[in-house]
Amino acid sequence: MIEVSHLTKEYGPFTAVDDISFELVPGEILGFLGPNGAGKSTTMKMLTGFLRPSAGTVRIWGCDMWKDSLTAQSRIGYLPEGAPAWEEMTPLGFLNFVGEARGVVAGRDLESSVSRAVSIMSLESVLHQKIETLSKGFKRRVGLAQAILHDPDVLILDEPTDGLDPNQKHQVREMIKGLSKDKIVIVSTHILEEVTAVCSRVMVLSEGRIVSDTTPAELLEKSDYHGAVAISLSDESKADEIVATLGQLVGVREVMTDGQQLVVFPVTDDGRLFPEVFELTQKSHWPVDSVHVEKGRLDEVFRRLTEGADR
């Protein structure tokens, strides 16, 4: 498990990470969300032992990152931001080096670890090309292969899907989800859907502080849109009339329109609004394409939680 306590990083008067504490147990997939400069990468750099914290400790299975960094680091697989690699090497040479540096014994162990990582990341076709000649997507996958090479207990990935096409993104998410249940994964991302698609826990950082630490579902519940009923009209002409009728329903707080899209917000989120609205659309023969209950909108929650950070 990972125990992070009172982790702080100061650069002169600027505090990049401000007194962060949390614990992670095997099986958890943690998503770090936050605007640029919120401290996601700095936190990851301290978790992996690259940067020394100004204060606080990181323990990996009880092993202090600064007192016994080699033992702690050997349990971690890390993809730094931008997936750096020695460009003059081939992916095969690169993976062999990382394997040896991680203490995978040269010989059959190393060979099987490398070929496992290569097949998970589908790198067979580029194994002998220089990394500098590879596309951005392949470079990222080489970086990911390096991180999972030694089947680590902890996988820390800084923006793993950045620069990948939709198919590759899907592949990487499946890879993360497919890791066995005794691993800990920490992923940072800008992509909000990724969090609901992959993570079991979300931490929103803003100005170096944790502003929310919860599950993706609970994060969605914080949204104004959670429990609202969205109606998609096939014909805009009747929109005004429909809005007026819906507005008179007892449980309705507000109706928002955007062309053919209507959103009906309930006074209290008790699930009774949808049947009521649905029945009304049927009875009144409105030109309706679809009616559904909103789960919530992450971008709206994200903006609310981190508001002010950009100013």
Binding site: K45, T48, I76, G82, E88
Partner: protein, 243 residues
Amino acid sequence: MKLNVVVKRELQSYFATPIAYVFIVVFLVLSSVFTFYLGNFFERQQADLIPFFSFHPWLYLFLVPAISMRLWSEERKTGTLELLMTLPLSRRDIVLGKFLAAWIFAGLSLLLTFPIWITVNYLGDPDNGVIFASYIGSWLMAGGFLAIGSCMSALTRSQVIAFVLCGFVSLVFVMAGFPMVLDAFKGWMPMLFVDMIAGLSFLTHFSAVSRGVLSLQDFLYFMSVIAVWLTATSIVLDMKKGD
């Protein structure tokens, strides 16, 4: 102890790019030019390699920074430093490993000057013990230059700045025994310190070596120069890696 893993990767990197080949060719051409034209190898009519070795400090002055400038600057710039330092490798293995690879590479370039050794043996009857000692001494001095370069490279992301800094600091070390450096200290420093500065000169230590006298004192001198600058490299890396 994964020193050899780091050394192996570094050495492979030298030869995966044109850097190694360009360096070796330029080094061989320049060392020959210096020996035959400036050193008057033939005109001296003596079977020794003093004209060859005596130019090495000046040759290293601008060739060694060309190897050492990329040691850390490039890693910082491309982000591989972060990767390297989060692998379970000790700081000592990383700093020493990168240095050793560069030193081995410099040694290899030096070995490839063997035709001049064959030439002098063909032309006359030199003292090969002296030549061997001079080779070792020259290699030790290259290590001193490289260790300075390693520290300068750790200071900055820019390879150009690393090159210039390394050239400058190396020049100070080479010239430490010269009046132009010593005069700057003579007026206000006790004589003891001025003598100490003079004692730090690469040239003072190398001039004995180039005549084939490799004393324990000179050996220890170059080894301590290397140790001090590599320690400094490690400290600088710690201070600057977050930038």
